[in-house]
Symmetry: C2
Subunit: 121 residues, 2 copies
């Protein structure tokens, strides 16, 4: 069976791609931790890392596209705030694996406990 991954439930999968990809870089995870208070600007964040402002700006853009942070202009600076709702959404995605896993267990214990309904009579 060949499943067309480009069409089936594409939206959710696209979001998952973006979120996990954004989380897959240590600098971006660090930015997420530092931006919980929503009081740091892109340039103040940039001062924390041994890379150019533009590089940090790109990382923030990746987080923004994934919905993991929001930016709000405050005068000339752009304040970055971690969006916990999207972090929770990521947890939900991992919980789905848990659900699939549990379904497997249930199927297994069913076979063990059902009084031989499986045998074709």
């Amino acid at each position: 069976m060949v499943v067309d991954l480009t069409q089936e439930q594409g939206a959710d999968e696209d979001r998952a791609d973006l979120v996990f990809n954004a989380l897959s870089h240590r600098t971006r995870r660090d930015i997420l931790r530092r931006s919980m208070d929503g009081e740091l600007s892109v340039s103040s964040l940039a001062r924390s890392y041994a890379m150019s402002f533009a590089a940090v700006q790109k990382h923030v853009a990746v987080l923004d596209r994934a919905g993991l942070v929001t930016k709000s202009r405050h005068g000339r600076e752009q304040l970055v705030r971690t969006d916990m709702a999207t972090v929770h959404a990521a947890q939900g995605l991992l919980d789905e694996f848990e659900t699939v896993w549990r379904a497997r267990i249930d199927r297994f214990t069913n076979v063990l406990t059902t009084p031989s309904e499986g045998a074709t009579p």
Copy 2:
């Protein structure tokens, strides 16, 4: 302040890089879901996707390096099994964000409830 990300807690961050990167591709997430039972070989997995065997093999290798699946030889085929422990580890990594978030809230409510200890006398 510049933090040297290449040294500080490198091992954990390396693992997080690998795990989230492995999760960031829909084909690999699908492989994870299908491999919960641990009864599918690499080639049987490969038949599910519109790509070559070698491509699927590479995806399994990425999951393996991240610790998200284990492979066990069974005759000429290699059976793939999702390692839920690593999925749980990923959940733990997201929970850390939750912890940082909660710490922020506590700090905030502390400021509100502490009877003006903050004012320099």
